[in-house]
Amino acid sequence: MSSAILAIELAYWQQTVLRALLGLVAVLLPAGTLVYLFLFKMMSFMQSRLGPMETGPYGSLQLLAEVGKFLQKEDLIPAAADRVVFKLAPFVVLISTFLLVLVIPAGPDLWFIDIDTGIFLALAVSSISVIGILMAGWASASKYSLIGGLRAAGQLVAYELPLVLAVMGVVIQAGTLNVQGIVMAQASGEIFGWGGIGNPFILTQFVGFAIFLIAVQAELTQPPFDMPVAESELVTGYLTEYSGLRFLMFFIGEFATAGIFSALAATMFLGGWYVPGLDPTDNLFNVIGPLVLIGKMVLVAFLIFWFRFTYPRFREDQLQQLAWKFLIPLSLVNIVATGVLKVVF
């Protein structure tokens, strides 16, 4: 990590412990921020109520109370459930979240792994969660869970494609799969020879940005794409039989993934940790980079949650139609257009 910059030599095990702790922070911090900021507060204000107010100033400690409550609950497993798979499913979902956070840089030297196929890795590990959800749906031995799990599998597989294709435009424009490379390309880019604010790819890839956000919404199974957990018909879909800590893990998984996908979108389309007007190789960014990234992440997450609280949900077939008949052709057109323009300019 930052060992070279700070001129501190760390043993391998020390680095590993440090990375594990930072990884935990990087997953839990966005999850907590989003739950408090959006699920508790913004949703309440949109629905003309106050939300939690009693626990701490403006209910800011409500999250701790909720976690404490979940930890106290009994870990119920249905008698007919496939016990091993049932217990394993939330871990599989969380693993996908933890692997996803690895590739996102928070500064010129602040990131977990430096690989040239960063975006590819992120998109690949994000689809591991499908397996976890399918496991949960099948192992619960409940009809609601089964229907929910199958719906989730169909939906996540369908929206994997627009997600990947939307990113393709960015990759073409940046000329690299390396996430740090994409940030640098945006930081050092120029708009018709004017390099004042770099070239955040949202200006050219706005179609890709929109498709990416829609696909992320579907990957998170949030409204309007929450058919798998549709609480008015399937109780809560594949989550129905889960309680206590395991439910909490699914919950953290959902919101942490929301945060990390938002950070990924911020990195690819909004310039990541970079602030226009400064030198991107400046050491300063190792300090303010994480804050800038979180700020942009919250901005993107706001869009996601705004849709979540406003829209009713699609039906399963309408959802598939949107993916296959609209988003995928549109993203293909976007790729072609990006390729042509890349060659022309």
Partner: protein, 390 residues
Amino acid sequence: MTDVSNRNQLAYIAAQASDARVNVEFETEGMTLNLGPQHPATHGTLRVIVKLDGERVLRADPMMGYMHRGYEKLAEVRTYPQVTALVNRIDWLGSFANEVPFILAAEQLMEVEAPPRAQWIRTILFELSRISNVILFLGDMGVQLGAVTPVFFAFRDREFVLNQIEAVTGGRFHPNFDRIGGLKDDIPRGWIEETTGVLGRIRTFCDEMEDLVTGNEIFQARTRGIGVIPPEVGLAYGLSGANIRASGVDWDLRRDGGVGLAHDQVDWKVWTHPDGDSFSRYWVRLQEVREACGIIEQLLGGIPSGPVMAKVPRIIKVPAGEAYVETENPLGVMGYYVVSKGDLVPFRVKIRSASFSNISITPWVLEGTYVPDVVSILASLYFILGDIDR
């Protein structure tokens, strides 16, 4: 029969048998899904047994009776004034409207008529309870389709209506205010102005719902052309209220019934929609809330002066006879068939409640739909469990 032919025959039989076995193995079996009795979609204890092939509904049977409270039988051991406290609980969201047809039937038997002022206030409260009932539907439909926000708006604005009902009757949910021959009390001072203000809020709420729900593309995709009920089928199943008006049948007992309420004194319109789908049922109810606001506003402007109670004996004994009165309640047509033997208590009370008839169409309308549409169609038919089971 030689050995060879016998062997061929055996082989043939074996092949047939294995074929049959394979066919049995590949034949998929439907899944039976119990929606309810405890299920978020039924807001109460209705159980819908759904036979599924994949997500397609092969058959759906509503099972009711999980909340049966025996009001018809209980009414036989209550004196006439006591019955109103009971029937409040039938449709618990628009409780005052439940009392009105019973009281009207009893008045018919006793041959008394409420004074005009009582009739007007009765009509105002009747329409207020319609608003408080139906705006909850307008929000709840969003919840059933996955949008949680509208229902909070509905609860917020219903509060103002309930406050107005409470100001007159003293009860928010169960007013028990209607009396044979009039009303328990007059309206308090300043109530008319306050109610006019509340009506403005309800109109704003209707505009909000138009923006937030009916104007939403996903809502339209989920409800337009879903759960279509043709008028003749709806009439055959005994649908009433907004459900049948959404199928294009222009029938409203407030206009056509001619019972002792003041609806004929004011200027209003019966809304219908030609489509008969879930969307039109929502749309018609939305318009009816607006129309109810108009009715109340006009009534508030011209409440006649005079007493609110006719001359009735202190101990009410209803002369022998039979009467059936039905009114256009928030959920549809509600009627009471009251048989009296000249006693303190009714001999028999038969309650015709709207939701009981309205959900009888569910096996017909749900067949061949998908599971998500089951929820939206049930929500759009709008039943209250107390109104089904009584």
